[in-house]
Homo-oligomer: 337 residues x 2
């Protein structure tokens, strides 16, 4: 039995959470796994109701669970997700970008994953006002850089792919901080002689993600560049509708869609739940590997291929030009599981 904590979020978050719960129930009923889901509040609604975007009980319950699912959160997102990444030391943010059928990808042969450092860079909140100016500290450490580089190479090793790691930085301008990031990655690369290692400036990468996205395998980069490039790469494969993310630490992990709360389409039962459902697939992979639970890995495969097969038939939710409601789309998946 796995205890799953679920932040239901804001905007389309609650609808997506319902979809996620339906799919998890179907997995429990049909596929012989046992997940116990606890819904938790965090985000704009929590802030309004309790004065805290991330209530203490939410954090406590997450800590007692085996893994956390997080639906999108509204304007207070940073107070929830950036804080959770830090206090749970979820140092690796894993963002796959794959061409799926019937999605408007720039090409149909894209299959990459961005491994984003998740704990430092400009995300530590160290900022100050100085008269009419302001300064933020961009912090890069050797430890965190090596740790994420190792994660990236291990990821490349496990993928059925071209086995390449591209280290993205801007060391021509940030010679010391990104110099340290680049040299740390280079050092780690020496332990992986079978994996190709290349470096690319972040501006060139932003360009190449459009020009030749099929040439990327694993990208490893610092926090803020990872934020920008992963949103870009999601759009390169056709939009945030199929973009899950895993925030992974040594002992715990949190899974969430890359997209936001999408208030403009909230409450209409038209949002595509695929990104969140693919986040469940990433959770199954992580739990399976961590606990040596081959059943989890199997079910993860099955969930992904079910989503794949469904979208292959052209079935889409209304938000992306299809005819299905969120619940109809979810039902189609639970039927096929």
């Amino acid at each position: 039995m796995y205890k799953i904590s679920l932040i239901t979020g804001d905007g389309i978050g609650p609808e997506l959470s319902e979809s996620a719960v339906s799919v998890i129930n179907a997995i429990n009923d049909k596929l012989g796994l046992k997940f116990d889901v606890t819904k938790l509040s965090a985000g704009d609604k929590a802030l309004k109701e309790s004065g805290k975007a991330l209530p203490d009980e939410t954090v406590d319950t997450i800590k007692k669970s085996d893994a956390c699912l997080k639906a999108p959160v509204g304007e207070s997102a940073a107070d929830v997700i950036v804080v959770l990444r830090r206090i749970l030391d979820l140092y690796a943010n894993i963002r796959p970008a794959k061409s799926y059928p019937h999605m408007p990808a720039l090409r149909d042969d894209i299959d990459m994953v961005i491994v984003r450092e998740n704990t430092e860079d400009l995300y530590t909140g160290k900022e100050f006002s100085l008269g009419d100016s302001a300064v933020a500290l961009r912090i890069i450490s050797e430890n965190a850089s090596k740790r994420i580089a190792k994660y990236a190479f291990e990821t490349a090793k496990q993928r059925n792919s071209m086995k390449k790691v591209t280290c993205v930085h801007k060391s021509n301008v940030m010679r010391i901080t990104d110099g340290l990031f680049a040299s740390s990655c280079t050092e780690v690369s020496k332990n992986y002689p079978d994996i190709l290692f290349e470096q690319m400036y972040v501006d060139a990468c932003a360009m190449n993600l459009i020009r030749q996205p099929e040439q990327f395998d694993v990208i490893v980069t610092t926090n803020l560049f990872g934020d920008i490039l992963s949103d870009e790469s999601s759009q390169v494969v056709g939009g945030l509708g199929m973009a899950p993310a895993a925030n992974i630490g040594d002992n715990f992990a949190l899974f969430e869609p890359v997209h936001g709360a999408a208030f403009d389409i909230a409450g209409k039962n038209i949002a595509n739940p695929s990104s969140f459902l693919l986040s469940i697939k990433m959770m199954l992979d992580w739990l399976g590997t961590k606990n040596n639970d081959s059943k989890c890995l199997e079910v993860g495969q099955k969930l992904e291929s079910t989503i794949f097969n469904l979208v292959k038939t052209g079935v889409k939710t209304k938000d992306i030009g299809g005819t299905k409601s969120t619940s109809e789309f979810t039902q189609a998946i639970t039927n096929m599981l």
Copy 2:
């Protein structure tokens, strides 16, 4: 008579510089303007020969000229261009992205310009090692933010466009620095009631540049985000082959292609000179406006439409899949002027 300083650069820089000089000569001969070009050295070759990527004489000659053209520079690029931007206080980096015929743009109706703050952010070189860590200072000032915002609104005012300024930042994470940038832009926007003002997070912008690039008009942003987003937007309109940039201050300006030295195709006479030639067009616009010289403005128009008409017939250089050499392409333009 205008004195033009020309940094001939590295890689494909010298070839592009020859192309630029041919076009300027044709303008002198056929169109009744008078430009006097002085070639200058800076970059990798200068570093090797003189120990300085940016020799003092180069800076002195630039300062005595009316405007500077800069071909791409190699690995020492930052020591040349970042320093020039700072010492000449070229605070506005203007990067248009337009769909041109026969270029593989994502759509044919894109016409935007990125107005990038060019003097601060993470580009001031304030970086330190601290044991196993490193820290860089991200500096944002109210003055520089308001100055660039004003430039962006003035740009929007002059364009035949939808008259919209999109301020791009990441104030949900960098609350103080990007908070200051966003509030400075917002304050300036109040002086331009006829221009639409919107704000967008940088990750969303990286996505929207692919999803709906036609909806952008003028983007104003901080230095590093501008670096990343302008390379991305160049590719959105089909690649760096048609991407000029202007670095503009109150009294001086420097014009360069967005692309780099492209060592892999250097010396082959196959590089597309259009980005550099479009930089000349931006120079003509700037000189014309500054000096109230309508002839310059006319010739600028003429140069752009000549390039447009040439690429419209499908003529391309070999580096982008065409059949023309750099010099043949240049000759076609000088013939048409």
